[in-house]
Symmetry: D2
Subunit: 375 residues, 4 copies
C-alpha cells in the first residue's frame, strides 16, 4: 500500500470519528492507499497538540491554513461548523488537495455551488459527509430499487426527527441563533441527511411545500431569556421528477425519537422500510408473492450485503455509526487513488442544500416552490 | 332492559358488522336498552329477505323508505354508499328516528351541514361511524392527552394507508369513478378516519396544504381501458388552532400496508404512538423519567383500559374490528336512552368532511387553504 | 337453519364469552344449526336468573343436573372449574347430549381418560376448549407445517407465561391451594394451552423432563399467611416421537408478560414464529430464498387466511379473543350437525392432561419421564 | 501514554477484529497504555507476513513460540482454535506475559482449571473473550439487576441460536468432528456465550439437565458422506444457587436466527429483555408503575449508558460487534496497567466450561447433574 498523509480540521465529535476511521480503514478494506494521520488543526495550538497526543496525530496546529499548506498533508478532511467550510475548501483547492467536507457543504446554495464549481474546475476528488446513507441496509435499499425488484417508486414517507432540544430547560446556543447557526434550525441540522436519502432512493425533486416553526420560543441565554431564531420542527411535501410524491418530517423536539431517520419507499411491485435506530435490518415487501404469504420481511444484515463482510463474518453481528465513517473513508481514498469521483460529491451536497433553501422559501412565502427557482 | 327496534339499511360488509354488534352489545355492556333486529332493507326484496334469514332479522324490505316508516323500527343504522345518505337521513328525521350513519356523512360539506343542522334542529340522537378511534388503545391515547401526561401537543405524524388497489390488474370500479364514488379517491375513502383521529387527538385544524394524485392512470373497465378519475395516494400538511403542526398520508396503493392507520403524537412532556395493525397496544414515552431509563413503553390493553373489561378479563386477550362496532352501538344506545349526544355526532362528521373538501381544493389550486374557506 | 337448544353451565368469564359467541356464530359463519340460548345454570337459582336476564338466556337453574335433563337443552357447554367436569360430563352422556368442555378436561389423566372412553363409547360429539390454537394465525401455522413449506419440524421453543400472580400482595386463592385448584399451579393453569399447541404443531411427545417451583412461598389467606401449594413457574424439555426436541416455559409470575403464549417452530426448510400478544400476525422464514433476501416475514391476517373472512373483509382489521370462541362454537355445531368429530376432542384433551401429569411426576422425581409411563 | 507491545496469535476472523480494536482503543477511551501491533503469528511464515503487511503489524512469524518469546511482545492475544489454547497459555505464563484468550478457554474443565490455576499462581493479568456481554445494553442489564430495580431474579429464559449449519448441503468440517472440534457441537460453539450471560445476570448455577442431538446425521466430507459427531441443537434447564430457574437453548440450525443471543430476566419487581440482533436496545418492565401505564419500555442506548459515550455522542447512533472488542481491549489494557484482574478472567471462563461439561454429561446420562460433580 502507498501511504497518504491526511490533514484533519476540527477535533469535535466528527473529528474523533474520522480519526478512528482513518486508523482502521486500510486493515478493514485493504485499500490501495494507507492513510496516515499527518496533522490535525483546531482553533488553538494547545488544543490541537492535546488532541494530536490523545488521538495519535503526527503533527498539529492552531492555524488550519498551515495544515492545508503542509506538504505532508496530501488530502484534507473538514469537520468544522458550516460557516467555516467555504474558506477552507477554497484554500484546499488552491493547494490542489482533495477534500472531504462534512455536511452541509455551504451555508446556502450559492456558497455550495461556488465550492462545487471551483473544485470541479480544478479536477480534484471531493466528497460530502452524508454518513447515514452508507449503512449496509441503506445501500441494500438502493440496490433493490435499482434492481427493479420493487418496481417504479411511487411514494416515500421519510423523517429525520430527534429530541435533543425537547427539554425546554436546555439553554440557547449557537444552534438556536441565526448569526452562528443558520436560518434553518432542525431543517438545517437534521433534514439534510434525510433529504439526501430521498434524492438517492427516489431521484431529483421537482417542487415542494414546507412548513416549519418554533415551538419553544425562548430559551435561557447568558443574559437571560433569548428568542429562538430558527425552526424546532416541521414537515414538507415533495414532488419528484419521476412523478412520485412524498412527505418528510424533521424535528429537534420529537420526544422519544433518538435517531429517527426512517423511510418507507413504495413501488409498483413492492416496498421497503428502514429505521436507523435498528440500522442492521431492512424490511422488504414483495407484492408478487402469493397473497396468503405476503408480508414485510426483516432482512438482517450479513456478509451477503454491501460493505458488511469487511467488518464482520457473521450475519447479525452488527455494525454501528463508526462503520459508516469507515465506509466514507474507503470511498474517499478510492476516489483519490483512481481519480474517479465517488458519490456523494460536492455537487450532490449542493443539490441537498438547494432543497433546504427551497423549503425555507416555501415556509416563508407559504407556497409551493420549484427547485428550479433556487440557484 | 327495555327493548328498542333497530332498522338496518344496507347488507354489505358494514351491515354484517352491525348485525353482529347488535346481537351482543346488551350482554357485553349491560346496556339500558336491548336492541332487537327489527327490519333490514337492501336494494331488492329478495336480497333483503335472504339476509334477514341468514342474519336473524325479524322483517325485511327492498324499499328503505318502508323501513324508516315501519313503527317497529325505533332507530336506524345507515350502512350504504355515501351518495344515498342524505335522503335516508332526511327521511329518518321526518319520521323522528335517531340515526347512526356510516362515514363519510355526506358527499360534500354542504350536504353534511344540511343533515347536521336538520337533525340538530329536530333534537334527535345522531352519530357517525368512525370506528377506529373506538379501540381501547386510541381511547387511552385520548385519556392520556387529556390528563396532560404528555404535556401540550406540538406535532402529529399520521397516516391511513392501505394497498387494496395496489395491483394494476385490478379493474376500474365505482371507487375509481367520480360519478359513482367521489371526487376524492383514497382521500375520500381512507383519509376521513385518520383526519377524525387528528381532530380528536390534537384539536381543530386551521389550515392545510395537500397533494394528491393518480398513480395508475387507467384500469380495465367493462368496455376496455378506463381513466381513473380520483387520487390513488397523497399527503397533506396540517396546522392546528393550538399551534401544533403535522403531516398526514393517505393511500390505496401503499404496497404491504394492510391497515396502515397510525399516528405519533408529540407533546411537551412526552409522546404517544399507535399502529392499528397492532391495535391492542399503545406506546407511551415519558420525557420526565431519568435519562438512562427513558424509552417508548408498549402498553398492552387490558381491563384497566377503556371499554376493555366488558369484552375480556385478561390483559392481552385482545379485541379486534368487531369490538369497535360493539362500542359504537353501546354509545348509540346510550345516546338514545339518555337523549344526550355522544361523540362523534353528525357535526363531528361534518368537520371531517370540511377537511377533506379543503384538501381537494388545496390540491386543485396548489396552495394552502384555511378551513374557514370551506362552508 | 335448524335451531339447536344450548345449555350453559357456568356464568363466569368463559360463560360470558360463550354467550356472546352463541349469539353471533350463525350470522358469522352461516352454520347449518342455529344455536338458541336455552338454559343457563350456576350454583344458585338467583344468580342463574340474573345472568339469564342480563345475557338473554331463555331459562335458568341453580341445579346443573336439571339443565342437563331439560329437553329444551340439546347440547351442553361446561364452563366451570376442573373439579366439577367429571360428574357433569357423565350426566350429559347419560342424557345423550353432545358436550363442549372447557380445558383442562379432567383433574388428572385417569379422570380424562374415563370421560373420553365413556363419550366415545356413547358416540356423542365432544370437544375441549383450547381456544388459542383457533386464531387465524395459529391455524395458518398448522397449514404451513402440513404443506411442507418449512420442511420437517426439528425444534420448538414455546411458552405460556403471564403475570397474574406476580404481585406478592395478591392473596391466597383457590388457585394456590391443591384441594380446590390442582397439584399443578401455573403448570395446570396456563401450560395446557401451549402443550396443546406443541402437540398440534409438532406431533406426539415421547418423553420430557420438567422443573417447577414456588416463588412466593406464602400469601395472605383469610386466616393469615398461608402456604402456596403449587408451582408459580417452571419449564420443561420435550422430545417428540418424530425426533424433534424443544423447550416449554410456563409461569403465573412472569412480570410484564400479559398473554405470553408464543412459539417458534424450526423446520428443515424454514421456520415460523407467533406471539399471542400480536395475534393477528404470523412470522414465516423461508430458508430457500436467495441468501441476501432472507428474513422473517410478518404476515398480517386477512381474508386469504383460515376463518378470517367470516369476521372481516379487510386485511389487518383484526380479530381478538372472542372470535376464537366463535370459531370453537362453529366447529362444535358442525360436529353435531354432521356427527363427525372435530378436533380438539376429549381424546386430544386427555393427551394434554397426560403431558401435564408426566411433568408433575418428572418434577417430583427429578428425572426424565416417558409419556407411556402415565396412564 | 505508555506504549505496550502486543502479540497476536491467529489471523482469522477474530484476529482481524482484535487488530481493528488495538488500532483504535487508545483514541477511543484514552487508555493509560497505548498498544502497538508488535507481532502477529499464524501457522506459516508467509501467511503471517502477508497479514502483517495488510493489517499493519510490525513483525510476524510462522512460529507462535517465537512470538511469545519476542521481547517486543509484552502481552499476548490468543485467537486460535480451542485445542491450541493450553500450550500457548502455558508458554505465555512461562514468559511472564499477560494473556487474553478467546473462548472457550480450554477443551474441557480440567484443562481450563489447569490454565486458570497456573496463571493465577503466576499473578499475571488474564481475560477470556466473551464479547457479547460487553454491549452497552447488556452492561446496563447488569447495572439494573445490581441496583435492585427489578428486585430478586426469579427466572431467566435465554438462548444462543444461529443457523450457520442449517443448510444440509453444507459439508462436514472441523466443527462436525470431535477430533478437531469438540465433543460439544452447538453446545460448545454458541452456548458458552449465553451460559456466561446467565452466570453474570443471575449468578452461579447449581444443577442442570440438558438434551442435545444431531439433526443432520451425515454431511459430505472429502471422501463421501461422513457422520456428524456432535450436537446440532439442544436445550437445558437450569437451577441457580439463589433459587431462580431457567431454560437455555442453543443451535447451529435455527433457521432464520442469525444472532439469536437473547435473554429475558424476570425479577420480583420487574423484568428485562434483550436481543442481540437489536443490540442497541434494552427492554425494561417496571412492575411498580400504575397498572394502566405498565409495559416493556425500549431503552435505546446513548451516552447515559455504559461505555457508549466513548464511541458516540448521540443516542441511537449505534455500536456493533467491533465496539465489543474495543471494550474488551480497554479492560485488558487496564488490567495490565493496574495489575487488577478485570472480569471475565480465566476463572470465569472455567466456570462456563464446567457448565458445558455438566450439560454433556447430563445429556449422555439422561439425568440432572449438579455442577459440583464436574471438576
Amino acid at each position: 500500500m502507498r501511504e497518504l498523509g491526511i490533514g484533519l480540521i476540527g477535533a469535535g465529535y466528527m473529528g474523533k470519528a474520522h480519526t478512528l476511521a482513518l486508523r482502521t480503514v486500510d486493515a478493514t478494506f485493504g485499500t490501495a492507499l494507507r492513510p496516515t494521520c499527518a496533522s490535525i488543526a483546531t482553533s488553538t495550538a494547545e488544543g490541537a497538540a492535546e488532541h494530536a497526543a490523545r488521538w495519535g496525530w503526527q503533527d498539529s496546529t492552531g492555524d488550519w491554513r498551515e495544515l492545508v499548506d503542509n506538504p505532508a498533508v496530501q488530502a484534507v478532511i473538514i469537520a468544522t461548523p458550516p460557516r467555516t467550510h467555504r474558506d477552507m475548501v477554497m484554500a484546499c483547492i488552491a493547494a490542489r488537495k482533495p477534500v472531504f467536507c462534512e455536511k452541509p457543504l455551504g451555508c446556502n446554495p450559492a456558497e455550495s455551488l461556488a465550492m462545487t464549481e471551483a473544485i470541479e474546475h480544478a479536477g480534484l476528488p471531493n466528497m460530502v459527509g452524508f454518513n447515514y446513507i452508507r449503512t449496509p441496509a441503506s445501500q441494500l435499499a438502493r440496490q433493490i430499487i435499482a434492481s427493479g425488484d420493487i418496481g417504479d417508486v411511487i411514494q416515500i414517507t421519510a423523517e429525520h426527527v430527534e429530541d435533543y432540544l425537547h427539554d425546554p430547560a436546555l439553554p440557547a446556543s449557537w444552534r438556536t441563533r441565526i448569526a452562528t447557526g443558520t436560518e434553518a434550525g432542525a431543517l438545517g441540522d437534521v433534514a439534510p441527511h434525510i433529504v439526501n436519502a430521498c434524492l438517492r432512493l427516489v431521484g431529483p425533486v421537482e417542487s415542494l411545500v414546507a412548513d416549519a416553526h418554533v415551538v419553544q420560543s425562548t430559551r435561557l441565554g447568558p443574559n437571560g431569556p433569548e428568542t429562538v431564531e430558527n425552526d424546532d420542527q416541521g414537515q414538507m411535501l415533495l414532488r419528484f421528477a419521476n412523478g412520485a410524491s412524498g412527505s418528510l418530517s424533521f424535528s429537534r423536539m420529537a420526544a422519544g425519537r433518538k435517531m429517527g431517520y426512517t423511510y418507507r419507499v413504495t413501488g409498483t411491485r413492492g416496498a421497503l422500510a428502514f429505521d436507523q435506530e435498528d440500522q442492521n435490518a431492512l424490511w422488504l415487501y414483495d407484492a408478487t408473492r402469493p397473497v396468503e404469504r405476503r408480508g414485510f420481511q426483516k432482512i438482517v444484515m450479513g456478509p451477503a450485503h454491501p460493505d458488511y463482510l469487511a467488518f464482520n463474518q457473521g450475519v447479525g453481528h452488527g455494525t454501528g455509526y463508526n462503520e459508516q465513517i469507515v465506509i466514507e473513508m474507503r470511498d474517499f481514498l478510492e476516489a483519490i487513488a483512481t481519480g474517479k469521483a465517488i458519490w456523494p460529491t460536492f455537487r450532490d451536497g449542493y443539490e441537498v442544500d438547494r432543497i433546504i433553501a427551497a423549503a425555507l422559501r416555501s415556509n416563508a412565502e407559504r407556497r409551493w416552490v420549484t427547485i428550479g427557482e433556487v440557484a
